[in-house]
């Protein structure tokens, strides 16, 4: 079970990094107001928000590898392909949510602020860097934390393709020992403790980064 917990945390961390990097990139691309970029990012977000994550994981594990040549498929499967595919699936899905969080943070900043900073002689980059983004990122912190907890919980879906994370390990323990109640109780307590820890840490972080004077 300990191995399962470690794998769950690894899965969470790697897909979280992927989600954060890609989500920020997507939000930035969408912000440029280029028409094609907006459509592409919009489709990406809509797909990942409207299709169950389980189906996305299956898509990555069962369907998309069949496009690759056999040799590459074998090569990937040598290195724990399930883990890789589930990181990609979960990371991409959460990236869609992250980009929406950041975008809503940006939209919460009144347009006048941007105009004012341009009028004061700051360039586009500098007004973004010094005026808009510092505020927008702070507004985006609470939803980002929510989605981090969500990502952590959703790593349990990787069991469906055989990643030996906590839920999968629990099932195996239950199969070997038939001590169903104990196995699920311990696993649930672990999940609960870790999510509550994430929520608690998130609340502290949100308080730290809150814009002074706002609710």
């Amino acid at each position: 079970m300990w191995k399962g917990i470690v794998l769950t945390l690894e899965l969470t961390l790697s897909s979280w990094i992927l989600a954060l990097v890609l989500g920020t990139a997507l939000a930035t691309v969408r912000m440029t107001n280029h028409r094609l970029a907006k459509i592409v990012v919009g489709c990406f977000v809509a797909y990942h928000r409207n299709v169950p994550m389980l189906v996305q994981i299956m898509m990555w594990y069962f369907a998309l590898p069949s496009l690759l040549p056999d040799s590459i498929q074998l090569w990937i499967n040598q290195f724990n392909g399930e883990f890789l595919y589930s990181v990609i699936a979960i990371g991409l899905c959460m990236a869609a949510y992250v980009s929406e969080d950041i975008r809503s943070g940006l939209r919460a900043i009144p347009y006048g602020q941007f105009e004012a900073s341009r009028a004061l002689g700051l360039s586009y980059i500098r007004s973004m860097r010094f005026v808009i983004l510092p505020q927008a990122m702070r507004i985006a912190v609470p939803p980002l934390i929510n989605h981090t907890v969500l990502l952590f919980k959703n790593t349990s879906l990787a069991m469906a393709i055989g990643v030996a994370e906590l839920t999968y390990a629990t099932r195996q323990i239950e199969n070997y020992t038939f001590r169903t109640f104990e196995a699920y109780f311990v696993a649930s307590v672990w999940y609960l403790a870790l999510s509550l820890a994430l929520m608690g840490a998130g609340a502290l972080l949100a308080r730290h980064y809150r814009i002074p004077g706002s609710k």
């Binding site: 969408r30 409207n50 898509m59 369907a63 809503s104 347009y111 919980k153």
Partner: protein, 256 residues
């Protein structure tokens, strides 16, 4: 892809219905409708308990909501799968298991939505109706809930979308819903996983996307109504070039 659709549409839509249990897309829809429908009254009670002034009511409700929100759905499924039969003393079908799970899980989330809706109303509303002589329940029934639930409609539709997405987890305990059916088709064909799973993703996408759009539309309407029914609303200024795209689409809370 069309060939697969043509050959297997009945399995994907109805499962083995005439000769076996109902399955496929129809069971997905039935599950999510029933799940959210049954979760709704429970969630109202939970939400009321969460904002109750009595600690004896508030604390247990808060604990329940936090516990359910802190555990992955799949864990709840396994709990129901293994322990509900022990509790009631007889075996239950996968459908019932999934339905119970959805009710437990969604009522926790929905109660947070409803609580937010109630707390968003001005406090003066409660005070005014109490001052007018309405009791606690009548205040709720005639003043608070009608407004809160109306305002919460977009979030509730998003919650319905999440429920649809969550039914896909029934696959893990062999509920014959559409993800399960698609996997059956895939196992029969063996060679065309891409086509099969694209169909599956497309079905979910069309279903959920239309509801998401509906939620956005209702949200816009409610906002417009709140700003004054008779005022003509000037359309939002189009975004200037080089800045953030201002679309009216909203980011709603979702959880799967």
């Amino acid at each position: 892809m069309f060939e697969i659709l043509y050959n297997y549409w009945d399995l994907l839509l109805l499962g083995q219905y005439p000769s076996g249990p109902l399955g496929g897309l129809s069971i997905t829809l039935i599950l999510s409708l029933l799940g959210l429908g049954l979760a709704f009254p429970v969630s109202i009670l939970l939400a009321l308990a969460r904002i109750s002034p009595m600690p004896a009511v508030r604390i247990p409700a808060t604990v329940v909501v936090y516990v359910v929100r802190g555990i992955p759905l799949i864990m709840v499924i396994f709990w129901v799968y293994f322990f509900l039969p022990l509790l009631i003393g007889r075996t239950i079908t996968g459908f019932t298991t999934m339905l119970c799970t959805l009710v437990i899980y969604q009522s926790a989330y929905l109660s947070e939505v409803i609580r937010a809706g109630i707390e968003a109303l001005p406090k003066g509303q409660i005070e005014a109706s109490r001052a007018l002589g309405l009791g606690y329940f009548r205040t709720l029934r005639f003043v608070i809930l009608p407004q809160a639930l109306y305002n919460m409609m977009p979030s509730m539709i998003s919650q319905f979308v999440s429920t649809i997405k969550e039914t896909s987890l029934g696959y893990v305990i062999n509920v014959p819903e559409i993800t399960f059916a698609a996997n059956q088709v895939n196992n029969q064909l063996l060679t065309q996983p891409l086509a099969v799973f694209s169909i599956l993703a497309l079905v979910y996408f069309l279903l959920c996307f239309s509801f998401t759009e509906l939620a956005d539309y209702i949200e816009r309407r409610i906002t417009r109504k709140r700003e004054g029914k008779h005022k003509k609303i000037k359309s939002a200024k189009p975004a200037k070039s080089g800045y953030i795209a201002m679309s009216t689409a909203t980011v709603s809370k979702e959880n799967s």
